[in-house]
């Protein structure tokens, strides 16, 4: 494995727009606004110093009630060089992020999962539909304010009572 991870090279290349996260200790981590995300991913994949060809995972996070509420966490791996990198992308409410399916094909289902569970809209995604829940399902189950046992209806007598203000439909955010 080659020596020190050239984290400074990323910071220098995107002067002022990309910062590091000092609280993370297990791997290098950069924080990036959604506007720069695609440029950063392309740079990381194609630059010979990084060669991040393997997109391992996309994780949506909801920090309700603190702000910014949403975050996307990308985990990259470089098969040639053996490096891992974490990219954090904080999002506003309602959450919107650019898609990276054209950079790594595998992002397709990961982004659909984040959309399904958190309602994060990926602009430019070729096929943004729910992946786990059925298409008519209302609400975003992994959000912190979604009850663990769901909302009460005729199939779910143990769910919580739904206040009308909490109702989210796909139409509300798209």
């Amino acid at each position: 494995m080659p020596g020190q991870f050239p984290l400074e090279k990323i910071i220098d290349n995107f002067s002022g727009q990309v910062s590091t996260d000092p609280t993370v200790t297990d791997m290098p981590c950069v924080v990036v606004p959604p506007a720069v995300l695609v440029a950063l991913c392309l740079f990381l994949r194609d630059d010979d110093a990084f060669k991040f060809n393997f997109m391992a995972d996309i994780c949506g996070v909801d920090f309700y009630p603190s702000l910014p509420r949403y975050q996307l966490v990308y985990h990259l791996y470089s098969i040639d060089l053996g490096w891992r990198l974490r990219i954090k992308c904080p999002l506003d409410d309602p959450p919107k992020a650019p898609t990276i399916t054209h950079i790594w094909t595998t992002a397709n289902w990961h982004e659909r999962e984040a959309f399904d569970m958190f309602g994060i809209v990926f602009e430019g995604h070729p096929d943004l539909r729910r992946i786990y829940m059925w298409q008519e399902f209302e609400g975003w189950p992994m959000r912190r304010n979604y009850p663990l046992r769901g909302y009460k209806d005729k199939y779910n007598p143990f769910g919580e009572e739904k206040a009308s203000s909490q109702k989210h439909t796909i139409g509300d955010i798209l």
Partner: protein, 405 residues
């Protein structure tokens, strides 16, 4: 019963072409669970595949947010139900990284031993199930017979055949029972020859080869872009194995080869797994030989239950710790960690964000089957007919419980 919707009809020069939408599954025996595929067919030729998953979605990640760290172990059992000790190990390693502790050496050996046993158990299923999907029924009966030996070992070691929940944060639940090592060695001796039997049974079987050879080829570049990992990636010629490239536990002390094949077709993905079982046997033998007596659980009353149960009756302090641990669990310092292991299906990653309490704030499971299954949607070469799709599903070896989480 298959639903058929005609979506277009056109008179082409070779006669009538009629494209239909066809439903495969979720109750189809070759979809390995409840996978539903929507196929756009032109006669026997597949034009487009649209997988519909989520029929087994249990909201594991949401449940994890309301469980303590120890309570999550049984949930990880239910991800890939063919190789539970691997899932336990992946999760335990992530929590241990957060706590900054390490399991005792003997525990690491036992965990690796169990993980490799479960790899054999998982690979045995596809060794028999892929031929069965394409029409060779016999092989599954033989592999299931041998899988029974692994199940018996699991039962002997952990007390459960399927959902072992054997790992704990900081070690394993119990030490290996007496007489277990001999049984494992006996299993290795029997099983080594059985692998040759499978190869003799299937490698010269012309019907099996015709159905899987040069079917569903995935190039190395495509495989990486699709995020494939594990045997599916190595069958496409990419030499990457987390056990060797970023060794966890005691894998760096074991001597094994990473099986890499070149064609990336269904046959290579199958063969890659058959060969990996041989490497797993090698590793199990080395584990048994290198293992030394010693503690199997970390000696920290705030994280693990006391090994000596008599202490509970005599020591008030032990009693208090035991009560606190059982009632509340242990607190994990604030932070986040991503830990990946080489599960039988590929890279199994756990990303945990801890907010300093005894329950994870967010736990994301990077399930290898979920990512591998995506390869179905892309246009892989030599996957033209409906029969090839069945071979492709079988060779990708998805476990739907892991796909749906």
């Amino acid at each position: 019963m298959t639903d058929v919707n005609v979506i277009s009809e056109s008179n082409q020069e070779h006669g009538l072409s009629r494209e239909v939408l066809m439903n495969l599954g979720p109750q189809h025996p070759s979809t390995h669970g409840v996978l539903r595929l929507l196929l756009q067919m032109d006669g026997e030729i597949v034009k487009r595949i649209e997988p519909h998953i989520g029929l087994l979605h249990r909201g594991t990640e949401k449940l994890c947010e309301s469980f303590t760290y120890t309570q999550i172990f049984p949930l990880t059992d239910r991800l890939d139900y063919l190789c539970q000790p691997s899932n336990n190990l992946g999760y335990a390693l992530a929590v241990e990284k957060l706590l900054d502790i390490q399991a005792p050496e003997r525990a690491q050996y036992i965990r690796v031993l169990m993980a490799e046993l479960s790899r054999i158990s998982g690979h045995l299923l596809i060794t028999g199930a892929l031929p069965m999907d394409v029409g060779a029924m016999t092989s599954l009966l033989y592999t299931m017979r041998d899988r029974e030996m692994v199940m018996d070992l699991m039962e002997m070691i952990s007390g459960a055949r399927m959902h072992t929940s054997y790992c704990r944060v900081g070690g394993v639940r119990e030490d290996l029972p007496s007489g277990c090592v001999e049984r494992i060695i006996e299993f290795c001796n029997i099983f080594e020859n059985r692998i040759y039997d499978y190869e003799r049974l299937l490698e010269n079987n012309r019907v099996f080869l015709a159905r899987v050879e040069n079917v569903g080829n995935i190039s190395g570049e495509d495989a990486i872009a699709l995020g494939l990992s594990g045997p599916c990636l190595r069958a496409s010629g990419i030499d990457w194995d987390i056990r060797r490239d970023a060794p966890y536990e005691i894998y760096d002390r074991l001597d094994f080869d990473v099986i890499v094949r070149t064609d990336g077709d269904c046959y290579d993905r199958w063969k890659c797994r058959v060969d990996e079982m041989r490497e797993s046997l090698k590793m199990i033998r080395q584990c048994v030989a290198q293992m030394q007596p010693g503690p199997f659980l970390i000696d920290d009353p705030k994280i693990a239950f006391p090994v000596d149960k008599d202490l509970l009756a005599h020591s008030m302090e032990t009693h208090i710790h035991h009560f606190k641990l059982a009632a509340e669990g242990f607190k994990v310092p604030k932070g986040e960690v991503y830990s990946a292991i080489e599960a039988p299906k590929g890279e199994l990653g756990f990303y945990i964000i801890s907010d300093g309490t005894e329950k994870p704030f967010r736990l994301k499971i990077r399930a290898p089957s979920f990512v591998n299954l995506q390869a179905l949607t892309e246009r892989t070469t030599n996957m033209k007919y409906l029969a090839d799709v069945i071979a492709m599903i079988g060779s990708l070896d998805p476990v739907m419980k892991e796909v749906d989480k």
